[in-house]
Symmetry: C2
Subunit: 210 residues, 2 copies
């Protein structure tokens, strides 16, 4: 799995823009993974949305991850699930969903990272790296230094999340992140596709055309 | 599965009373099935609570059903899941959870009941039979007459829900229900165990000791 540009869909942050629209445009711009995140909708709606994003990701050979709802992930053929510290424990999830199903875990400290890896996680979402208005319950910003510390203590891929933008992406990658999770810097842009493409160019080391 | 007295745990309705306490006391009073219903908690907490109620139900040879969260149900060895009309579709759930895993569906009309049975449901939650303050989004009361109509058109067990108390239980059973789902009449009682026992006695046809 190439973590590169990892987009978290969030309709609340992108008024008038649906999960499917965010997914379609960011995939067209080169996103590697789409994570469907929705804490409000019931299972019936989520199931339909997830199936549609699954198809879109197939078209672009991109990965598809569902936040929190393992059931929706398994039912729609997602590549994996992303869990928070307050979600079902990774070791339990692993019994129900063997590899190659992917389990990602949000961590905010070296200790959480080590535990997640031991529990069977496939990648770590480390953050919030920078201060962010996106997820108000996410705790204080940890900075790229935490990525560096976690990189020393664990082996699984790291996806940096929280306040990542075109200006700080380089610092985060230099600190050891394998990919960047982007929410507002892409989905709050007037053109999601162009915003995604700029990140992809930056990650690939090509000079930006901006 | 004996549907008899089917208790839906709801901490919000029973202030100071936990899911586990409601389960333990109603099982001691003879409840046949416990449904864990919690729309607020994260997966980590739900997982721990569900595992505990699973053990309690085993002690009493009672059934254990989880509302909405198929993942929690599968991870904790629950007997089944209960789905609303806005939850993941039963036919999809069935592919992931073959029988004897139980799928129950809330229905409020003959059409929904027929569809649920066709989709692979194992029992129907029919209601709200009587007006109730418990679930404000549940729609208008359907009365015992809907149970009668659904009984004529479907074969799977019917659990009546919504405003069921000691006075109307007989009408509901006479209309064709195989069991009664009780929330407030039991869990808002000062003694959950005694309240459960009264329903069990009523359902078994024994004279109540009230
Ligand atoms: Ni639901």
């Amino acid at each position: 799995m190439d973590y590169g540009l990892y987009i978290v869909t969030d309709e609340i942050l992108a008024p008038g823009c649906s999960h499917i629209q965010i997914a379609r445009e960011s995939l067209a711009g080169g996103a590697n993974i789409i994570q469907l995140r929705d804490k409000r909708r019931g299972g019936a709606e989520l199931y339909i949305i997830a199936k549609e994003i699954r198809s879109l990701c197939n078209e672009y050979s991109a990965g598809f991850i569902v936040n929190d709802r393992l059931d929706i992930a398994l039912l729609t053929g997602a590549d994996g699930v992303h869990l928070g510290q307050d979600d079902i424990p990774v070791s339990a999830v692993r019994t129900l969903a063997p590899r190659p199903f992917i389990i990602g875990i949000s961590v905010g400290s070296v200790e959480e990272a080590i535990l997640a890896e031991k529990g069977g996680a496939d990648y770590l979402g480390v953050g919030p790296v920078y201060p962010t208005e996106t997820k108000k319950d996410a705790g204080p910003a940890v900075g790229p230094s935490l990525i560096r510390k976690i990189r020393e203590k664990t082996k699984i891929p790291i996806v940096a999340i929280g306040g990542i933008n075109l200006s700080n992406t380089r610092d985060v990658i230099d600190a050891g992140a394998d990919g960047i999770a982007v929410i507002s810097a892409v989905i709050c842009s007037p053109d999601i596709k162009i915003a995604s493409r700029k990140f992809v160019q930056l990650l690939s080391g090509k000079p930006s055309v901006v």
